[in-house]
Every structure is written in C-alpha cells, then in structure tokens.
Symmetry: C2
Subunit: 202 residues, 2 copies
C-alpha cells in the first residue's frame, strides 16, 4: 500500500515511503530484555544501540575501519526482519530457511527506494550478512556483544528462560574475535562469570 | 553506580559503562505514536529513525553535507533526556529551563566516557543544539520532519490529543527550511492537508 501521495518529487516519494515502511521495525521484538525492565527490546532500539557502539568502540577493531560504514550497516542490518521476523539466535530450526526469507525481504523492502539507493542499501545488507570485510566483521562483533551484555547485566534472564548453556553461548559469540579480540576477551570474561554467578548453565 | 567491573582496560570499561547508561534511552517516551499502534515512540527508536533518514535523504539538504556527521549527531542528540526527560515540543513552560537541565545532563552522561570521547560527543551534541552548521541544520530538519509525518500518517492522533493548532505546527516546524527547502515544501503540504482532513485544528 502506498502511503506517500503528498509529493510529486518521484525519488523523494520513494524515499519517504521506504522510511514509513521501516516504522514497522519498532514493532519487531527480539529475545533480549531491556535492562531493569520486563520488556523485550525491539529491532529499532537494537539498531540504534549498535550504531552508537560503532561510534564509541571502533578503536578496538582488529583492523583499521571506517566507523561510518559500520554505522550504516548496523542501522540497516535488521530491516529484513520486517518480513522475515526475528529468528532467535539459538533456534536451529528457524535458521534453516532464514537466509531465503531474509533475501526475499531485502529485495522487497530495499526495492521501495530509488534504483541507486536500492543497490547501495542492498549491498550494505549483504556485506553485513557475509561478514567478510573489516567493517562487516566489526559490525557483526557489535551485534553479538550487546545481547550478551544485556543478558549478563539482567542476571541471565533470557538465558534462563530459554534453557541456554555455556557452550551454546560460546559457539554463538566466538566470532566476536574476528572483529575484535579485545571485545571477545571481555565477552569471554562475562560468559565465565555468568556461569559462576548462576546466570548461565555450565 | 558502576556496573562494568569485568575488564581492567580502563577506557573500554568507561566506554561500556557509557553504553549501558544509554540503555535508559529505550525507556524515555516521546509524544509521537508509533504508526498503526497505540504505543508512544521512545528516544532510542526515534534516534535510529533519524540516522536512517540521514543516510536516505541527504541529497535533499540545501548545502552539501557529510551524512556520517549528521548520523553521529542524531544518534546522540537525545541522550540528555535520560536525565532531563522529554520536553513536549508544545510545552512552553517546560522549555524555560530545558537548556539548563540538558546541559547538566550532557556533562554527566558524556562525562562517563574517556576524556577525548567526552569532548567529541559533547561537541556533537552542542553542534546539534546550536543548529548553525550545515549538518546541524539538516539534522534538526530531520528531527522535525519525522514527528510531523508520524502525526499526519496516524490521522493527527497526538495533535488532537493535545489540542494543537496549525499555526503552532508551522512555528515549530518552519525551521525545516533552513536544512532543506525540499523537505519543508513536503512538510507544508502535509500541514495543509492535515487541516483539510480534520487531523489538525485550523
């Protein structure tokens, strides 16, 4: 459904339509709780937090990176969940067709934009997904680190609720080291302490 | 209260402490409704949306701008509301001491960061508040445009609830033109149509 009918400027109309479509990201909920609350975090808030992390933590990347490129990737990385939904990171079944669902979503949603921007945004999304460039490795590290922190500083509430064990958390998060060994050292400490404190099953 | 005790890396500890403090922005609610819902938008979601707008709409700025600089400003611009709260844009009384409250908040919150980053982030915040540079004018335009759009496309729900009139909306939003005459043209059309459709009192 086209909502923007108040301008004759074609590309502006497409851009504003895309921005209104993205409004839905505020209603896609993840499995991390907001600290000190009983509310789940949504994708829009999560994306904001990663972008701020990109500003603040970029000196800790293994390789020299362009923080603004990381920012763009993380701001857009979850947009596909508007159609594909949030797949819980420990849901193995949900992951079997995740790539297909998300690719279809990326084509539809970025397809709302003018042609040049479609291409640029689609490439940013794909770069994040592939996780091969310096910036993508670091962006993926941020995307793993923050949920781990939220879980730890909320006393493992989501880990306990879903019966998650230490090895699953390590397997899920060890890729942080590809983007930043310093951040992975910190994450490892959190995982060990989480077990010690009873937030996470051994 | 210091939460981060799991690293000996001093500046990393300060940076993560700052990032956890910012978690509170997810619980600062604004007076705009999320489209098609009865839920108020929070500052974290709002900041994400403005940053995406900075990526998508920068070609419409009156002057040539660095989109990444706009992104940084909008990602951080509302952080002061953690202490100072959201001041409704049509609340004249609330605006009398807004600047003081926000300055104190900026000093405390950015003060959590390592010295160099304190300075950088404080300057970004101040640049946004002053609204004098090219990027700040455009960032301020985005910050006005999106609430107007959310209000219009939710049939003026927040305007009606607060008894807002057309002239107030014009006075509040005409500064959009300083950052982008194209976006102000669009905004003016929305305001006129809002009155026609009965979303906004004449």
């Amino acid at each position: 459904m086209q909502r923007i009918t108040e301008t004759d400027h074609v590309s502006l109309g497409q851009q504003l339509e895309f921005l209104l479509e993205l409004e839905k990201l505020k209603s896609i909920f993840r499995r991390s709780y907001i600290l000190d609350t009983d509310r789940w975090e949504n994708d829009a808030e999560h994306s904001w937090q990663l972008a701020v992390m990109a500003i603040i933590l970029s000196e800790h990347a293994n390789e020299e990176i362009q923080p603004s490129h990381v920012m763009k990737m993380v701001l857009l990385h979850d947009i596909v969940e508007i159609d594909a939904g949030d797949t819980f990171c420990y849901d193995e079944k949900g992951h079997t067709d995740k790539a297909d669902r998300e690719l279809r979503a990326a084509k539809r949603i970025f397809g709302i934009l003018p042609p040049e921007q479609q291409k640029e945004c689609f490439q940013l999304w794909q770069e994040f997904e592939r996780g091969e460039t310096r910036e993508a490795k670091f962006a993926n590290a941020l995307d793993r680190l923050m949920p781990l922190m939220l879980n730890y500083y909320s006393q493992g509430k989501s880990w306990k609720k879903h019966g998650i064990r230490k090895q699953q958390v390590i397997d899920r998060n060890k890729h942080i080291a590809k983007g930043s060994t310093i951040l992975w050292d910190f994450a490892s400490t959190l995982i060990d302490k989480a077990v010690e404190k009873g937030y996470l099953a051994a």
